[in-house]
Symmetry: C2
Subunit: 204 residues, 2 copies
Amino acid sequence: MSGLRARQKADRHRRIIEAAAELFREAGYEGAKIEAIAAQAEVSIGTIYNYYENKGDILGAIVSLEVNEVLNAGRGVVARPPANVGDALDTLIGIYIEHSLHYLSKEMWRQAMAISTQLPDSPFGQAYTELDHSLTEQIRALIGRLQEIGLVRQDIDGAALGELIFNNMNMMFIEFVKRDEARIPELRAAIRRQNRILVAAIGV
Amino acid sequence: MSGLRARQKADRHRRIIEAAAELFREAGYEGAKIEAIAAQAEVSIGTIYNYYENKGDILGAIVSLEVNEVLNAGRGVVARPPANVGDALDTLIGIYIEHSLHYLSKEMWRQAMAISTQLPDSPFGQAYTELDHSLTEQIRALIGRLQEIGLVRQDIDGAALGELIFNNMNMMFIEFVKRDEARIPELRAAIRRQNRILVAAIGV
DNA sequence: CACAAAAACAGAATTGACTCAATTTTAGAA
DNA sequence: TTCTAAAATTGAGTCAATTCTGTTTTTGTG
């Protein structure tokens, strides 16, 4: 039953992820060889491929942990949003962006994003698309809250607006991780400037 | 002077691109082995790497041709835009999207996009970012035209709006190429729906 | 406890992108 | 025309992800 085998399995999963996270951090994604991850996790190469389809999926598991934390952090803002549309959006987006580099370097983000478009049907590719949808949905939920409170016009198409805001932010974030010298404050300012157009359009 | 050497060089470039394009089409990006491209182009493997930094750059050269065509096609719309904001945007975006799958399969797009985020400093990575900027700029130019004509309010931040529209479209296009079963009409309809919010906000 | 089937593991072998040192070709000076 | 330096080509070799096949471990049954 839920005996030795299951426990060993969970343990090996954990060891692989921890080893990979450490090596990715130290040596970068490309620099972290599967052989080294296997040695560090004290399993064989074959076992790693028994647990993950490919190297990208290992990174994917780590990225998913991070994005789920971000989603969690966002819940608070949706529940009690700042009392004006611009600040509400800026606060939620701020949480996303500020959290994003806690555990993951820009290089890791670049790899993760690349893999998710390159192999959209791999486990991680699908998970990443899911996560994007969850983020979009959270922005839409914030808009819904603002409509309830009466800060956003009732006749606004919330779903389309949520997509618009998420897609723009996400694309800006992609450009941000592509340039190592890009800084968070400038990114946030640029997104605020773009959203200003929307804020003007949707406020009551 | 512009003698034999230059001619041979141009000729080899062309042969490599033609061979690669054919093999990418037939076998997909991963399926097209460098060795096969070299054989088809009648050069050695080493020569290919003398002309292109890596496999991705070969695909990059092909993608760049395509995007430049798209940019060219867009010029006409900017010069003589349809006489209402929604249609003008839809026409320009329509050109981008309809052209996009002429020479490149979705798989090739996925690879190209992945490479451009994975290796933003490679020749193609930089070229791709450039091309994105040119597209953004073209959208901004269309908005500028519409402001001249008096269809868009003068006080709109054209640069920010151009980015917003391009980023949203681009992200939608990325999701589109990630799903083989996604269809162009639905993509265009979804983008129209998102842009409707903006159109309502910026029209005079 | 003993055993057979199923699950998981191990690591050698394969594969394919990319490198590099040796060779060939071209340009242009004498 | 001959020769030399620079430029370009070549393909065998390297490196690392992934695959594959034989071995070991676990489970559940008698």
